[in-house]
């Protein structure tokens, strides 16, 4: 502490020698199985939506970001993640707009990589959800030919989508909340249910997450604490109120896996100290259960993470007496 040497790189710098671009491109790689599953279930629509969201992010970074900042790959990750949280049938212009918002107001306005408060992809998703609630809650059914579009992807910019010709379904959480019907666990695990592009295939998400955790590119405490909190809390509630779903259903339905593994662990917007990570994960878990069971919306992972993102500066204050220069102790 006597003579601190500052290396002025962007914020994810506590994890050792790996450079930011290298970490970021590994994350992109770990998303491959999830993207594969999305294309498997949702056909060409998945490719278009993910591409549109990524294009929105990359173009915004290119136009407004500092020179050369595209190389670190963070804009691509934001775009891929945003795309994976969207329903397959969404008009592409909306996905593109979400990408612009995510990078523009979610990241660049704070000064670029490592300085933002909210997870950009989720902020973009929350913006789209608030702006186009109907398009964002129209879930295509997983049946039908693979190559068919899952909705009016090619609606003209600023225009509404035509009513979908294919049958629309509901997410397992929606079915649970509004109809009281359960979805089989096996379906939830392999992902053949309604939902956002990347959230359905739990196995693939865990695969990508395990890779990142092994390479120490994500803090395993965060997903584990989220899973534990959600499982324990919902199981306790299930015992007292049997009509509420149990732990397994809560874990494998909705965006919990995707959010816990890829969004909540975003190094920039999660706490730096281990203790902080536990508090943060626990908070997300509690909020998810509360919003899912007693809120007006069927799913709350996105809001839970955003809300806890806003608490991260506070958690960091509480768990780290000094904001700077403690990186090495925290990582050890």
């Amino acid at each position: 502490m006597e003579n601190p040497r500052f290396e002025l790189t962007a914020s994810p710098h506590i994890k050792g020698p790996d450079s930011t671009p290298r970490i970021m491109w590994s994350v992109v790689g770990s998303l491959a199985p999830v993207i594969f599953a999305a294309i498997w279930y949702f056909g060409p629509s998945a490719v278009f939506v993910i591409a549109a969201a990524t294009l929105g992010c990359v173009l915004t970074e290119r136009v407004f970001g500092p020179g050369g900042s595209l190389k670190d790959g963070s804009a691509v990750i934001t775009g891929l993640l945003l795309g994976l949280t969207l329903p397959a049938g969404i008009p592409l212009w909306m996905a593109f707009l979400g990408g612009i918002f995510a990078i523009g107001l979610g990241k660049l306005i704070f000064g670029g990589l490592g300085q933002n408060v909210f997870n950009p992809a989720l902020l973009g998703r929350a913006f789209l959800q608030a702006a186009f609630p109907e398009a964002l809650t129209t879930w295509p059914n997983v049946s039908g030919p693979w190559w068919a579009l899952r909705g009016d992807n090619f609606a003209l910019p600023f225009m509404s989508a035509n009513p979908v010709a294919t049958v629309t379904g509901a997410t397992p959480l929606g079915l649970m909340k509004f109809e009281g019907t359960h979805t089989e666990l096996a379906k939830l695990i392999i992902g053949s249910t309604g939902g956002s592009l990347g959230e359905t295939a739990a196995v693939m998400i865990l695969l990508g997450g395990a890779y990142l955790a092994l390479k120490k590119y994500l803090d395993w405490r965060i997903p584990i604490s989220i899973f534990l909190t959600v499982a324990v809390l919902s199981q306790i509630i299930h015992v007292f109120m049997p009509e509420e779903p149990g732990a397994l259903f809560m874990l494998f339905s909705g965006g919990l896996m995707l959010g816990a593994v890829f969004m909540a662990t975003d190094m920039v917007t999660s706490p730096t100290a281990p203790k902080g990570a536990w508090i943060y994960g626990g908070g997300i878990g509690v909020l998810v259960v509360v919003i899912r069971l007693w809120g007006g919306l069927p799913e709350g992972v996105m809001y839970a993470i955003l809300l806890m993102n806003s608490l991260v500066p506070f958690i960091n204050r509480a768990t780290q007496p000094r904001l700077f220069g403690t990186g090495k102790e925290a990582a050890a």
Binding site: M1, P4, F6, L8, P91, M94, L105, I109, F127, A130, A131, F132, P133, A135, A155, L156, F158, M159, S160, A161, R317, P321, R322, L323, F324, G325
Partner: protein
């Protein structure tokens, strides 16, 4: 008052250079709360204009009679009277808009713009100048409300004053008429103004984090 201003300056100042909302950041509560539609924003702007003008004229007329010690109480009394009048008139004349404005009409009382103009200008100047100043500031407020209301209604509903402008297939951006949309719209306008001003003048400030930053910055917050 270091320098006498011309009547034109009294009038024009409130519209742009000292725009109450965009430059002084006063009266944000109504600017964000009731600008979801143009007619709400316009009604609110006119009501505030009326209260501001009435109070300024009255305060400037009686400035020598009002003792300094109770001036704030007297101003608030005057403002509250005008607001009550405006509230009742709106309720009787445009009941639908009054309903959708809800408690935000009475809340004009605590709009800092009005009390601010009384304290800073009307109580120190002639009736004529106070009138010009109130009209200018009031117009500045109405214009800001209209900009906010237009942006939010156009994008959020595809209409302007209720007339559809973008055709039947326009997909409205619902967020614009929700509370976050209010914050984002005003934020965007302020970013735009800062960009415009930065383009014409002031060189970019140096980064806050030059290389020799000391550790005290981290320590001072705890």
């Amino acid at each position: 008052m270091s320098r006498r201003t011309t009547p034109q300056e009294d009038f024009i100042r409130g519209i742009w250079k000292e725009n109450p909302v965009l430059v002084q950041l006063l009266g944000l509560c109504p600017t964000l709360a009731v600008t979801g539609t143009v007619d709400n924003a316009l009604t609110m702007g006119i009501a505030t204009f009326f209260v501001l003008l009435g109070s300024s004229v009255l305060v400037a007329t009686f400035k020598s009679v009002i003792p300094k010690e109770v001036r704030i109480s007297a101003y608030i009394l005057v403002i509250a009277t005008f607001v009550t009048i405006a509230d009742n008139v709106l309720h009787a004349v445009v009941p639908e808009i009054h309903k959708s404005l809800g408690p935000f009409v009475p809340l004009i009382v605590v709009n800092c713009i009005i009390l601010g103009r009384q304290e800073a200008f009307a109580s120190k100047n002639t009736v004529g100048r106070a009138t010009l100043d109130a009209i200018g500031t009031g117009f500045g407020f109405i214009i800001t409300m209209m900009i906010m209301g237009s942006m939010r209604e156009l994008l959020g509903n595809g209409t302007w004053l209720g007339y559809p402008l973008f055709g039947a297939h326009f997909e409205p951006w619902v967020i614009m008429v929700l509370p976050p949309g209010g914050f984002f719209t005003l934020g965007f306008i302020l970013l735009g103004i800062a960009w415009w001003k930065g383009r014409t003048a002031v060189p970019v400030r140096p980064r806050r984090w030059p290389h020799g930053v000391t550790t005290e910055v981290g320590g001072s917050t705890s």
